[in-house]
Symmetry: C2
Subunit: 336 residues, 2 copies
């Protein structure tokens, strides 16, 4: 095989927003898959807020990406060579394949997906990690009840949009916080949220007061910072705060801003619980099945925001942190 | 009755630590109890960190004390006149009787206590609100399991000392954080904690690392601030943080310090849950019975730190916020 693989490697640990010099664009020959391995031609690379955390040194739920290593990313592609009995050439798979054009992976470490059910890129979003994040975080930790009010930040993003839709499926009211009138229109009109708060144009405290007259029963937090504080100030008794992310803080160069209003948990007998989707690895298949059913039945809508060209990876990743994506941000790797 | 009642009233809402001019010392004749009411001669006044919060304006779990009102306090005393069928002259009772020498209260709003089982002042501490706070916060929210590590701050205080002892009764390791070598010696030698950390003399992060080699399974927080952050940084997987108070922050004049390390909840699938003891009002009797049994059996030790003289109330209250008390701080009201 005379295939050439291009890759983005972590050149330096970023301080604040990743800058061009934090990346190295490299080229090398594609290697043959070894025993039990498969060779995958990558078609779509998932861009996720969690990637920023993986670039930092220090103890976390997953080891950091090493300087000089191919940047870690979820991706989907087609198997073009296989030495694994359960994976065939032509299969579509997803996995932690990295920011590159070709990946060699253990056949047992990738997930086969059925592209007759949904396009490959949907398996990186609503039927993939972000969808499972929304599903388990909301249902296992948030536990919305009929008639309760669920508020989600980052509501037009890959996770937030699914959170609001599942809240509605469970009989709750869904209030979304997003940046800009287009995103707010999207979650109201396409996704069926009951209310939208444009944090760039509105006073979030006042808007939460207006849209959550009986308080917030479940707050699903993707952003941290001032919006988390505003939601804490509006909790109802026995409220559940689901800590999923803190994208407003990931590129902070000073100390992380802790939630000043955390004592609202005390006076409201409320809880704040964190998770990462891998905590639910053993229940992933059940979640994926139910989500696929909802999607097939039209009960769940999915939108992907697709950029094209591997070389655009550094700039496209920044769109996440600038809040420029609506729906799941995916990079389509240009074909040969 | 020609009895005279002296009282401390809230003269102004404090900014920071309450100062003498925030109080008004008043004198008035004792009034007769009305229908269903009882007249109580107060013997002991409980001094609790929560009192600082009651002095602030704003929405909380209980209405603020009005400016000009008698300061709210739990207290214990003897009934000297009764118009309530269930309460007799000579009964000892506790209740929200206020910072004063005599109180008229509804007979149904006070709790009769058995001073043949324990001295009256113990019903303001280990067998009263602080004891119930420790009991329900630790057992209902913390849920320590055999062999787990429980860390409690304010460990030499009325709540913290009981938390550590109940943790031990449940088979957990108890690590206490307290200020000063005397307090540390007290919790180790008298209360039977497994380890003590003197936050005034030690690096709390390093000491938690040393004494919690497998991480913190339950952190019971009475103090907030930097110590909460240190504990968050050391959580084990599925850890439970019990938010009971934040005494380090109650007199802050700027914004409350939120816990910068709250994302440790996320990576550890951990939770932080708040409560006030009144959330458990319907189970209070069960808790009080079990605590009384433990105390009678010598499984639980109780210490009271008793100051004397109503006129010393303002200074004695400050001892709480300066961390000067060991055990339950109580003000004995001088007899006539």
């Amino acid at each position: 095989m005379d295939l050439v693989n291009h890759q983005f490697r972590l050149a330096a640990r970023p301080v604040g927003l990743p800058k061009p010099s934090d990346w190295q664009y490299t080229e090398e020959p594609v290697t043959e898959p070894g025993d039990g391995e498969v060779l995958i031609k990558i078609l779509y690379i998932s861009l996720d807020p969690a990637m920023r955390g993986w670039m930092n040194d220090g103890r976390s739920y997953i080891a950091p990406v090493g300087v000089g290593d191919v940047m870690r990313a979820l991706a989907g592609g087609e198997v073009i060579a296989s030495n694994h009995p359960d994976v065939a050439v032509g299969d579509c798979v997803t996995g932690l394949l990295g920011v590159q054009e070709y990946a060699v992976a253990n056949g047992g470490a990738v997930m086969k997906v059925d592209t007759s059910q949904a396009p490959l890129e949907v398996y990186l979003g609503t039927l993939g990690m972000p969808g499972m994040t929304a599903y388990f975080g909301l249902l296992d930790i948030g536990r919305p009840q009929d008639g309760e009010t669920v508020v989600v930040s980052g509501a037009a993003g890959a996770v937030g949009g699914v959170v609001g839709q599942i809240a509605k499926l469970k009989g709750a009211r869904a209030v979304g916080i997003a940046g800009g009138s287009e995103k707010c229109a999207y979650i109201l009109e396409e996704l069926g949220f009951d209310a939208a708060i444009d944090y760039k144009a509105e006073n979030v405290n006042a808007a939460l007061h207006e849209h959550c007259p009986r308080g917030i029963d479940v707050y699903f937090d993707n952003v941290g910072g001032d919006i988390l504080d505003a939601a804490l100030a509006r909790l109802s008794r026995n409220a559940r705060v689901v800590l999923c992310g803190a994208i407003s803080q990931y590129n902070a160069t000073g100390a992380m801003k802790g939630p000043s209003n955390y004592m609202s948990l005390l006076v409201n007998h409320a809880s704040m619980t964190g998770f990462v989707v891998s905590d639910y690895g053993d229940r992933y298949a059940d979640g994926a099945r139910e989500m696929a059913e909802w999607l097939a039945a039209g009960k769940l809508k999915s939108r992907e925001d697709i950029a094209s060209g591997l070389e655009r990876f550094p700039d496209t990743l920044l769109r996440l942190f600038k809040g420029e994506n609506t729906g799941k941000l995916v990079l389509e790797v240009a074909g040969d």
